[in-house]
């Protein structure tokens, strides 16, 4: 299967990439890992005249930590999955990254690409739950956006003339535990049907001081189950609490397509399990 013809542009800096975006407005696409864009182009779903290759821009592929985790947009999912630093301090992210595709896809796909494409976007729920912020660079300069505000609708991620350059993730509060669970449609190596990311913080008396629940594939965009979070906040683990939370989470979902009832049902199950897991991992 061949790709349609295009011109390949190799900016050396993010600013140069932005200027290309403006110059060839509407006819461009940014190329990061290529696992989504190139596949779509082969199917002739999108046919940009210009492909702006980001890989030659230096300093977009890094994992750094200094109270705040900073991940460069071109960091591969594989690097996130195996990073000892992320596994130790932000395990939610490495758990989620490990689910995505086989080793080859993980070696190619980037976290920036995963967030910017209209995809099940596995990395979004865990990043939402951790309160990530995205750094976007455009012709007007830089701006920092809370990740929830990034998903303004199923197809709107970022302004057409901006480049996502970095994801900043604050450290989870002390006494936190997290869990990422995912159920696939059919097989182990498959598209997700439901993804649940959960961050739980408990105080010294066992009260849930903070609960963050991110859901993927059960609504038009990745979402936070805010009502469920509200319900759990301030409560203590007790009989029936998890079932109640699961029910609420199910009500919050708005699955867009096939197997709607099943997706809703499973969301509840995964939320329950993620809560239990997270509790067991509190340190």
């Amino acid at each position: 299967m061949s790709l349609p013809k295009f011109e390949y542009l190799e900016p050396k800096t993010v600013e140069e990439a932005c200027s290309f975006l403006s110059m060839y407005k509407g006819e461009t696409a940014l190329l990061a890992g290529g696992t989504t864009l190139l596949e779509r182009m082969k199917r002739r779903r999108v046919m940009p005249r210009y492909l702006i290759g980001l890989k030659n821009i230096s300093h977009l592929d890094y994992i750094e930590y200094n109270q705040v985790l900073r991940i460069g947009t071109l960091t591969t999912l594989r690097d996130i999955a195996v990073s000892p630093l992320i596994q130790e301090k932000f395990d939610l992210l490495s758990e989620a990254a490990r689910f995505i595709g086989g080793v080859q896809i993980q070696n190619m796909a980037t976290v920036g690409g995963n967030l910017c494409n209209v995809l099940p976007a596995d990395m979004a729920p865990p990043l939402m739950v951790l309160g990530a912020r995205l750094r976007l660079v455009g012709p007007q300069g830089e701006r920092s956006v809370a990740i929830e505000d990034f998903f303004t609708g199923p197809s709107k991620r970022v302004r057409k003339d901006e480049v996502l350059t970095e994801i900043q993730v604050p450290s989870p509060p002390p006494r936190s535990g997290s869990s990422y669970l995912r159920l696939n449609m059919r097989t182990e190596e498959d598209l997700p049907l439901v993804g649940v990311a959960l961050l739980l913080t408990q105080d010294a008396n066992g009260i849930f001081s903070e609960v963050k629940i991110g859901l993927g594939s059960v609504s038009p965009t990745p979402m936070r189950a805010k009502k469920t979070e509200e319900f759990l906040k301030g409560k203590k683990m007790e009989e029936g609490l998890l079932e109640e939370a699961a029910k609420l989470a199910v009500e919050e979902t708005r699955p867009p397509t096939a197997k709607v009832e099943y997706r809703k049902e499973v969301t509840g199950v995964l939320v329950k399990r993620a809560l239990a897991n997270a509790m067991g991992r509190i340190k």
Binding site: S2, K5, R186, T187, E189, L191, K259, Y262, V266, V269
Partner: protein, 766 residues
């Protein structure tokens, strides 16, 4: 079996090295000087009249070298059983994806652009996608000429009409009386989906004419002689002017019984005088290929309270799509095995092969039988549960024995099935696992019988000047290891080592005719031909050597590269010596020849209506036991262990036999749990490996492959086939295991988690 030197050994395949290094060339890898890219324009509608095809714009596109449509081809229909198909649609299209035109251009992009410039005017017709609806008298006709189509089998009296492509009927005993005599009557309907062979190398052909007007075709096919035959018939080219070669084939699993592209390649090559290659994209292969027939099976069974089966009425409806293809054949196959391998005094079977405007369905490993096997083995457990009997005991109580008859009148030749039942359940610790029931875990079993072998084959063997051997055999190795197994048979017979043999295969110019690699027939039928050729050569060698050694022919043996007197190692002549002598002194170069014809009997078509075959050359048996773990909250099923006991007569190469079982199991598991071609008004909505999921290494359970060897008297060294059975018992074994774990019975494949969860909810009344 000890006493053999080459067969029965786990030898690596002769092509393994070239495949491991990337050296092996498949049709997709071939490239020739001046080669053009061909592409096929396919119908956009499932059922429509073709009013006009305008190729003028496309013809003017620079780089386009030729365009062909139906007017470039003689109006000749073809088909495996029923001649109802033409290579281009004529007058109307009957399915989405039916070829309407083809182009040859200098590169793929130009060919693609050219297709977009061809203007086809259609007039949509009412389309039909459900076979039950298609069988109604008011349904729109898909093949107006159905009753006039010629058949490939002269003695076949097809039952056909309307949208019914073919049907089979038989009634043994009296089922209505049987049901009245029963203590319990079970009625269940089972549904199986369309599934796709998923061979990794897509369909691909290259054709090239030489200046004498002879065309060579390289094709990814399991049956090069069939390609040659079809090309000759429909393009009116004599066979000696058509050479078809199958290079290494990247899998077939039934789907390459006919290579889809060669007619277009040949026509385009003739028109342009250049080699033309057509390679289907994966998406196109889904659409243009011939996946397995979706099927609905209604099974009504009467039993006595002690578990004896008294009566069975099976009705099978196969959706064959727009054209017959292999439909009538595999419908008859499924029909034959539909009652299951059980003693049932009253049996009625009706099988219908129905046209719809869906994708053409065709040959896929198992040939019409995975569907009824799923039905009858699921129902056995439904019966066992109701009667409170162990599923194994119920089966043993009713199993057919040697001498019993199938509904088509064929005799069961052995008790091989019982051996597989006992071996599989013992190895899987059936009794133990049933006793100590673990929560969320279940164990289920299923057995099956099926056929091996079809038609005939032939082989030539020659003795090289240095005593090594050259073999020419038409059989195509599609990865299953037939070439190596056949070489092992030859080496054993001639008393040489495997290294002394080199084989030429699958080339219509240089190898003798073979039916094709389908129907689990290579080791069995072709093996017999190879063995016959070896014996023929051996006899000639014995004649020569006996004369020289002053011994009797009956006392000779071929061993260790020599021919000599049994028991007298000093009285032996090396093959090289006989080779030289034959060339320069007496008789001429030694050539062995062998032809083998299946050993079958006609079926009484007065009783077995609409049947088109004879009896089956051999029967094969298997039992599989699946252990599953289910998540009752999500319905997710994980298969932990799969024990598979398969009777293959004798394992010429046990490593290859296991490989066939294990591969079959992975396909059976996909059939059971994850695979489904989704059709929406005739359009495949998931024609890719992202949305059509076959099992990956992470999904597979541990597989215990057990080879059972019940000597097959008609097979070479007692061997018979193993290619297909691996996937037949798997789905019902899994479904039965799920029932054992959760008490829910799913009768529609694939058993996806949402179906399990829904069934659990219904069971608990929520």
């Amino acid at each position: 079996m000890s006493g053999y030197s080459v067969i029965g050994r786990r030898l690596p395949k002769e092509d393994a090295i070239s495949k491991a290094t990337g050296e092996a060339k498949y049709t997709v890898d071939l490239s020739f000087k001046g080669m053009l890219w061909g592409k096929i324009l396919r119908s956009k509608y499932p059922h429509a009249k073709i009013l006009n095809i305008d190729t003028t714009k496309a013809e003017r596109l620079p780089g386009v070298k030729a365009i062909i449509t139906a007017r470039d081809v003689p109006d000749i229909k073809y088909g495996y059983a029923l001649r109802d198909q033409t290579i281009f649609a004529r007058e109307k299209v009957r399915h989405l994806g039916e070829p309407v035109a083809a182009v040859a251009a200098i590169d793929e992009e130009t060919a693609r652009e050219a297709l977009a410039l061809i203007k086809v005017e259609y007039e949509e017709l009412q389309a039909i996608f459900d076979p039950e609806e298609a069988m109604q008298p008011t349904a729109p006709l898909i093949h107006e000429g159905i009753t006039t189509y010629e058949t490939e089998y002269p003695f076949w009296k097809p039952i056909r009409g309307g949208n019914l492509c073919s049907a089979n009927r038989v009634h043994v005993g009296d089922v209505e009386k049987g049901f009245k005599d029963s203590d319990f009557v079970f009625e269940d309907t089972f549904k199986t989906p369309m599934v796709y062979q998923s061979y990794l190398e897509p369909h691909c052909s290259v054709a090239s004419f030489d200046s004498s007007g002879k065309v060579t075709v390289w094709a990814s096919t399991a049956a090069p002689f069939y390609s040659q035959n079809r090309l000759s018939k429909i393009l009116k080219i004599p066979m000696n002017k058509i050479r078809v070669i199958a290079p290494h084939v990247g899998g077939s699993h039934g789907g390459k019984s006919f290579d889809l592209n060669s007619p277009f390649c040949v026509l385009l090559s003739r028109k342009t005088n250049r080699p033309v290659k057509i390679l289907l994209s994966r998406e196109e292969d889904f659409i243009a290929g011939t996946p397995r027939h979706p099927c609905t099976i209604e099974l009504k069974t009467g039993v006595k309270k002690d578990g004896r089966l008294v009566a069975r009425h099976a009705k099978l409806v196969y959706d064959t799509g727009a054209y017959a293809d292999w439909g009538p054949g595999l419908t008859a196959q499924g029909f034959s095995f539909a009652p299951g391998p059980y003693k049932i005094p009253n049996i009625k079977v009706e099988a219908f092969c129905v046209y719809t405007n869906n994708t053409v369905a065709g040959s896929f490993r198992g040939w019409g039988c995975p569907q009824p096997t799923f039905a009858y083995e699921s129902q056995m457990d439904i019966i066992a549960a109701k009667l409170g009997m162990d599923p194994l005991e119920l089966r043993l109580k009713n199993l057919q024995e040697k001498g019993d008859l199938m509904v088509i009148g064929q005799e069961i030749p052995s008790d091989g099935l019982k051996e597989t039942l006992l071996k599989a359940t013992k190895e899987a610790d059936w009794k133990g696992k049933k006793k100590e029931k673990q929560i969320r875990r279940g164990i289920g079993m299923a057995c099956m019988f099926y056929s091996s072998g079809y038609s005939s084959s032939s082989c030539f063997v020659k003795l090289n000047e240095d005593g090594t051997i050259g073999v020419s055999v038409g059989a195509t190795d599609i990865g299953q290891g037939s070439t190596t197994a056949l070489a092992q048979i030859l080496a054993e017979e001639l008393g040489v080592s495997l290294e002394d043999i080199s084989m030429v295969t699958a080339d219509t110019d240089t190898t003798p005719w073979d039916y094709g690699t389908i129907g689990s027939r290579c080791v069995y039928i072709v093996g017999n031909a190879v063995k016959t050729a070896a014996v023929d050569m051996k006899n000639q060698l014995f004649q020569m050597a006996a004369g020289m050694l002053e011994a009797r022919v009956e006392d000779m043996e071929a061993k260790g590269g020599m021919v000599g007197v049994k028991g007298s190692p000093e009285r032996a002549i090396p093959l090289v010596q006989l080779a030289i002598l034959s060339r320069y002194v007496m008789g001429g170069p030694i050539i062995g020849r062998g032809s083998y014809m299946e050993n079958v009997r006609p079926v009484d078509t007065e009783k077995v209506e609409g049947f088109l075959f004879n009896t089956f050359p051999a029967l094969v048996y298997a039992t599989q036991v699946a252990e599953v773990e289910v998540d009752a909250e999500t319905g997710k099923v994980k298969v932990l262990n799969l024990t598979a006991a398969h009777d293959c007569g004798y394992a010429i190469n046990p490593m290859s036999v296991e490989g066939q079982i294990e591969g079959g199991v992975s396909i059976g598991l996909g059939f059971a749990l994850s695979e489904e071609v989704l059709l929406e008004r005739g359009r495949i909505t998931n024609p890719n490996f992202m949305q059509y999921k076959i099992f990956s290494a992470l999904d597979m359970p541990k597989i215990d492959s057990l080879i059972v060897e019940v000597h097959e008297a008609t097979g070479p060294f007692g061997a018979k086939g193993i290619g297909e059975p691996g996937l037949l018992p798997t789905a019902p074994a899994v479904a039965n295991a799920i029932y054992d774990a959760l008490g829910v019975r799913i009768k529609t494949l694939p058993i996806t988690p949402d179906k399990v969860l829904k069934a659990l909810k219904e069971k608990s009344g929520r």
